[in-house]
């Protein structure tokens, strides 16, 4: 397993090996699926669309519908305007979405296709009351996280309006989390009695039930009228700097909706901050139901602490997710050793280093724009007790025999993850279950027979 990975670390400036990121358009596609009756459209060569649908489908085990401008060499020379026009006509005729969310690719960005103009020129083929919007998502900048953030922002840019009447609702932008997380955030907001617009919202779309009928547009997803009305909300809560802040800033700029950025509510402290914020907003005491959940989490943290205490952890993935996980493992008494993201940007390193400094954790490696080859090399030099990240880490986990928990995107080799949260107190309870299970499994699998315990 990964036998060619050397222990010796050679500095690399050009060669990316085993990435911890992918390109922007897939994030844009995922974000667009969180809007009801929205069909994502990839403006580029058809392979991009095929790849993104493939990977999203493998993650969710659900239909992922999207169309493509299907560029050929001609379109690459003369521009994709005519492809766009044909696509818009065909899409509304055949697939009848309420909205088409176009994202670009490195191809259409490199040739400089002007999507705004192209969409304007396709107006005649856009039926009354339907929309076509776009986000610029060049694959050669940022990562899939950037593409997600840009598409969420594009919905605001094109749709949200401040019509002068303030509503009682707040906007919550959940960031790139699973449908189960979006559902959990909605549940918390409902218990806290907060009127809200959650967008995007892939619950009810990428966890749709089996009924015997294929629904091109499942019943979930944020409604277009809600995104329009988001311009009248009294506040936007952006959960996650990388995934949600851009849209919140856009709402503030365009519609004067004040905004506040919080971390993705992963783990006890981030959830505490989230709940405190919501309680402040609602001017109500935190409901008993939430306090019970929190109490259960703390109970579990105490019950299981012996297995976590002092354990070294490597975490890789998307910045907002890694940040939440780092804070949580610290609160369990663990020591985060390596924190890696493929996504570029200094904010990731700064945010994590702040958390580490607050908790007086030293000798940790925090790196954005890094990859899994490097993470593996670091682990070969100084091993860890637990690895957390997406499916790609399973190779490292096997090579180094490290307990491994799958969190993030993509999870290609396990089932049911999209139904359950990692956010909130309930999500933290689930994370403890997952982490303690793999740690205990390894003890059971490797300990001498005389040490094999019935009760742990």
């Amino acid at each position: 397993m990964l036998d060619l990975t050397t222990k010796k670390i050679v500095e690399r400036k050009a060669l990316r090996i085993n990435p911890a990121k992918t390109c922007q358009p897939i994030g844009a596609m995922y974000a667009a699926l969180g809007v009801h009756a929205c069909l994502p459209h990839s403006h580029g060569s058809q392979g991009c669309c095929a790849f993104h649908r493939m990977q999203l489908t493998r993650h969710f085990k659900e239909p992922v519908m999207a169309t493509t401008s299907a560029f050929t060499e001609g379109a690459s020379v003369f521009g994709g305007g005519s492809n766009m026009k044909t696509a818009v006509k065909n899409i509304f005729e055949l697939y009848a979405p309420d909205i088409i969310a176009v994202h670009t690719t490195c191809l259409s960005e490199t040739i400089g296709d002007d999507l705004k103009t192209m969409i304007f020129q396709a107006q005649a083929d856009i039926p009354e009351g339907k929309y076509v919007i776009h986000a610029s998502t060049p694959s050669y900048a940022g990562s899939h996280v950037t593409g997600f953030s840009s598409m969420v922002k594009a919905f605001v840019t094109y749709l949200s309006v401040n019509n002068g009447t303030k509503s009682k609702r707040i906007n919550v932008i959940p960031g790139w989390v699973e449908p189960g997380d979006m559902k959990e955030i909605k549940r918390i907001l409902s218990i806290m009695e907060i009127d809200n617009i959650l967008f995007p919202d892939t619950s009810g779309v990428l966890d749709a039930p089996m009924t015997g009928t294929f629904e091109m547009y499942p019943e979930g997803g944020t409604k277009i009228e809600d995104i329009i009305d988001a311009g009248n909300s009294k506040l936007t809560l952006a959960l996650g700097t990388y995934t949600s802040e851009a849209a919140a800033i856009e709402l503030e700029k365009k519609c004067k909706v004040p905004m506040k950025t919080l971390g993705t509510p992963i783990g006890i402290e981030a959830t505490d901050r989230f709940i405190t914020e919501l309680a402040t907003l609602s001017h109500k005491a935190v409901p008993r139901a939430i306090e019970v959940e929190r109490g259960q989490l703390v109970d579990l943290m105490l019950d299981s602490q012996a297995y976590f205490s002092g354990k070294k952890v490597a975490i890789y993935g998307d910045p907002d997710t890694v940040l939440g996980l780092v804070e949580f493992v610290i609160s369990l008494g663990m020591i985060p050793k390596y924190m890696i993201s493929g996504t570029p940007g200094d904010t990731f390193e700064r945010q994590i280093n702040e958390v580490l400094a607050t908790n007086e954790i030293k000798d940790a490696v925090v790196k954005g724009s890094a990859d899994l080859f490097e993470l593996h090399q670091l682990m070969k030099n100084d091993p860890v007790d637990l690895l957390i990240g997406n499916t790609h880490g399973k190779f490292i986990a096997r090579a180094e025999d490290v307990p491994f928990v799958r969190v993030g995107f993509p999870i290609l080799d396990r089932y049911a993850h999209q139904y359950f949260p990692i956010v909130g107190y309930a999500g933290a309870i689930r994370l403890i279950e997952m982490m303690s299970n793999v740690i205990l499994d390894k003890i059971d699998r490797t300990c001498p027979e005389e040490d094999f315990e019935l009760v742990m």
Binding site: V10, R16, P63, I91, C106, M210
Partner: protein
């Protein structure tokens, strides 16, 4: 059925209607030869299953070669999506290098797009050599590379000179051609030009063969190799599943090329015949019938009585082992219907296996095939090249005076060609039952309409429509990746396939799709009145 197809087509806007109607044919023997349009542009706005040129080149043909570093020059996505996603399995040879678990990219950034990425590509090669010391490297270009004019061929030449290893460059930008097919061709050309025939081995072994167009998905290639070795064949190389650069270099030493996936590798087969005199034969190792026929064809080719005898012995042994199981699965599947929509040859191959299991194919089609895959190679001279195809280099090779061998005399060749499929592929349509619908580059809309109308029992396709089909209540399996199962090839593979589809069709979960309260009334009614 024609009325139904017309109704489906009617919904298309005029231009789309005009294009799509030529991609759908209903098999009618009285109208033979039937023509179908294929290998043309996908219409923008369709929900297509097709991928791109890069996917065909790096993803399909090059990727499985395990002992080369495949550097993708471009932004990160293209390399990322072909990392471990295709199930082309590979085993590390003792002392050998195996890069199958690795993903290499130049991860181009905005500045590389603006100022050019050649410098970064050179640096990436340098780093790869320093860290891994590989025997050979490939460079695959992605969309922006061609647009900004990075000369990857010049970089490859530089790298060969600098590091003394072979570095191959492939201009397989995603926008080239109309599907993966262009990429297959580009990969074939450069393997032929730069790798095949460069090995120093001399032909010594008898009954030596190459397996072409076998990508070892789910271990198919290993199962086929097991059977071939049992008969006594020497496998020189496999292109490219579990493939090895070292072995491909010596491919010219074989006496016969077997072509499994016609679409992706027929170019190499043709060129090797011209250059080295090695005849090629279309084979089908899917299903017991196909495998048996293929083994007999190969034995006839070599023509030695002991080999023919051994072949029959192997066939008998293998069939004896699976017969009972196949019969059992047939009882569970008999009378069911299937739709097949896979790449370039599988839709054809799997029909014979399905037939063995009593399953009738009612719709079949290819994602990126050409007309010859549907109609047979005899139509090749009549296919007019359009602009998209003309942009893909057609490599012409000449006889290699030193390495060319007369393996069969022209007379013998002619004699054999009458009884075995030498340089011959009859295509899909001829084998179809009357009334079968044949669709090229099917899209989501057509898929949905067809399932609603024909209500097949099973649908074989890829990951992108797998769950669409399943949501409609039809068992679906991926025939690109075998849904994490396999091997499906050969005799033992046929049983695994039969087991998988039987369990898929009969899994108890189907019974629970409709909740009980939707079938029976929730409250028991009580008759009022009477004697009570």
């Amino acid at each position: 059925m024609k009325d139904f197809i017309d109704k489906v087509l009617d919904k298309y806007p005029a231009k789309t209607f005009k294009s799509r109607k030529e991609h759908i044919v209903i098999k009618k023997a009285s109208e033979a030869p039937q023509k179908i349009i294929a290998n043309t542009r996908t219409i923008p706005g369709m929900i297509t299953n097709r991928g791109c040129c890069y996917a065909g080149c790096k993803g399909v043909v090059l990727g499985p070669i395990k002992d080369m570093i495949h550097i993708v020059h471009g932004p990160i996505g293209c390399s990322y999506y072909t990392w471990g996603t295709r199930r082309n399995k590979a085993k590390t040879e003792p002392g050998g290098q195996n890069y199958i678990e690795y993903c290499f990219s130049t991860d181009m950034q905005e500045s590389d797009i603006i100022f050019g990425g050649e410098k970064k590509l050179r640096a990436a090669i340098t780093e790869a050599v320093e860290i891994f010391n590989p025997k050979a490297i490939t460079i695959s270009a992605t969309c922006p590379v061609g647009l900004i004019g990075d000369d990857i061929n010049a970089v490859a030449v530089w790298a060969e000179k600098t590091y003394g290893i072979q570095v191959l460059s492939f201009n397989c930008e995603g926008y080239k051609g109309v599907s993966q097919s262009a990429g297959h061709h580009i990969a074939n050309n450069n393997l032929m030009r730069s790798v095949i025939g460069t090995g120093t081995k001399v032909p010594t072994k008898k009954h030596s063969i190459n397996m072409l167009g076998e990508y070892n998905i789910g271990g198919d290639g290993w199962e086929v190799a097991r059977i071939l070795k049992k008969v006594g064949y020497d496998i020189v190389c496999v292109m490219t599943g579990d493939g090895s650069y070292e072995e491909i270099k010596n491919a010219h030493t074989a006496e016969l090329n077997l072509v499994q996936c016609h679409r992706s590798i027929n170019y190499i087969a043709e060129m090797m015949e011209v250059k080295y005199g090695i005849p090629w034969m279309k084979v089908n190792f899917i299903g017991a019938t196909g495998t048996t026929q293929t083994l007999r064809d190969i034995a006839v080719y070599f023509g030695e009585p002991e080999l023919i005898e051994k072949t029959e012995q192997v066939i008998a042994e293998e069939i004896a082992e699976i017969e009972g199981q196949m019969q059992y699965y047939k009882t569970r599947l008999e009378g069911k219907t299937a739709c097949l929509y896979v790449g370039g040859s599988r839709s054809h191959h799997y029909q014979t296996l399905l037939k063995e299991l009593g399953v009738e194919t009612v719709v079949s089609g290819y994602e990126f095939a050409h007309r010859d895959d549907y109609e047979g190679r005899e139509v090749i001279p009549t296919i007019k090249l359009d602009a998209d195809s003309k942009n893909i280099e057609h490599l012409s090779v000449e006889k290699d005076e030193k390495k060319y061998r007369m393996i069969l005399s022209p007379e013998k060749y002619e004699e054999l060609a009458k009884i075995i499929p030498l340089a011959k592929y009859d295509g899909l349509i001829k084998d179809e039952n009357e009334g079968t619908i044949i669709i090229d580059d099917i899209n989501h809309y057509e898929t949905e309409e067809i399932i609603k109308k024909l209500k097949p029992d099973m649908f074989f396709s890829g990951i992108k429509d797998k769950y669409v089909v399943q949501k409609m209540g039809v068992m679906s399996r991926q025939l690109h990746s075998y849904d994490y199962s396999g091997p499906y090839a050969g005799y033992k593979g046929a049983v695994i396939f039969a087991r998988d589809i039987t369990s898929g069709v009969h899994t108890p979960a189907w019974r629970f799709v409709t909740p009980p309260w939707k079938v029976e009334p929730l409250l028991e009614g009580k008759v009022v009145g009477g004697d009570e």
